[in-house]
Symmetry: C2
Amino acid sequence: MSPSPVSVRAISRHAVRAELARVAFNEFCATGFNQVTFADLAGATGVSRSTFLRYFTNKEDVVLFLFDPIGDTIVEALASDSRSDDDWHALRRALNPVVDFLIRDTSEVLAFLDLIYETPALSARFREKQFDWRPNIVRELQRTSAAPDAPIVTQVRVAAAMECFAAALAVWRESEGREDLSTLIDTSFNALDPTIAAQTG
Amino acid sequence: MSPSPVSVRAISRHAVRAELARVAFNEFCATGFNQVTFADLAGATGVSRSTFLRYFTNKEDVVLFLFDPIGDTIVEALASDSRSDDDWHALRRALNPVVDFLIRDTSEVLAFLDLIYETPALSARFREKQFDWRPNIVRELQRTSAAPDAPIVTQVRVAAAMECFAAALAVWRESEGREDLSTLIDTSFNALDPTIAAQTG
DNA sequence: CGCTATAGTGGTACTCAGTGTCAGGTTTGA
DNA sequence: TCAAACCTGACACTGAGTACCACTATAGCG
């Protein structure tokens, strides 16, 4: 029989990954991301450098892999959307589960964002990650649309929506979580919204 | 007296940089970006590895520094804009000099874009570069605006505009320069345009 | 024209991320 | 119980990027 979807080894691997990342995160916060080497992390976690490197594709991934599920979350939200209106509002709705995910443990997420935003290498990879979400989102939007637009049109809308999310997240982090993330996303979406912006333009 | 704005050494440095980049570009195209090391480049250019590294901050910069002027070009275009209408149209106009810059030597630019788009490391840094343009553009837009919006609003608009540019550039490159870059930028801007999109929404 | 401060150059040594491999041990599933 | 698949630590290696050194070239001034 083929291996079960969630094998024992997969669970183990996931748990080890989480623990390694947890310890590493503390090291990064204490000493600075760039100052901590894989050798340091191996020492701090009690695992060999080889093994540590097998669990993460690169140093940034040790911090950022936590945000991996977001891309799929957005796609799934779009897949289960009624699509009664346009792309832009569908994209806005698709971010709701992401907001839920982020504010579930606000202080932890903020700690991660602090480290990310004050470390250029991490910020860059974080943007890369968000960029990598786009093609799947575009595909889902085109797939579920009654009358799909030209690829470039959908691509631009998705890119803009992700930038709205990123901008809102940055402001949310600056406010140390005091401002409402959902409201900030609304604000940024409205800055580009066809109907609303037309009133002021 | 302080050194003149364009010293002899600065000119020399600029020329050497250009020549090193030219030779390096051929190597990259022939062998692949990742396969060419700084040692290879030193050998190909007849300069030591140390010296080569002094001219570029990293390997990607050897290819991408050509696109550095674009950010300033946009800012300057905004500075000399009459600003008779909204941010979005001002941003669109500010890309016109960039288009002129890119189509001045279409085949060369396309060759660069080919290398960039087929090399993930280069694509990533290219996006970083475009990201780095944003703050200056935001500042200029806020500075020249009669009634500046909240920072996040301007930031989102600039981000969206840059993504429109990036999307258009990607399609233009795929078409091998056959499609009109200006028209592609119009198309992508219109995908988010307040007044036009409202008609179809 | 020669002097001097400054900048460019090549060489060498170094750190560290990331890859690859290998032998030995452990776990899984039949 | 057993074989295949997997995990681990150890080691060696490549190559980017940094730092430092002594040496040379040159721009600009007196």
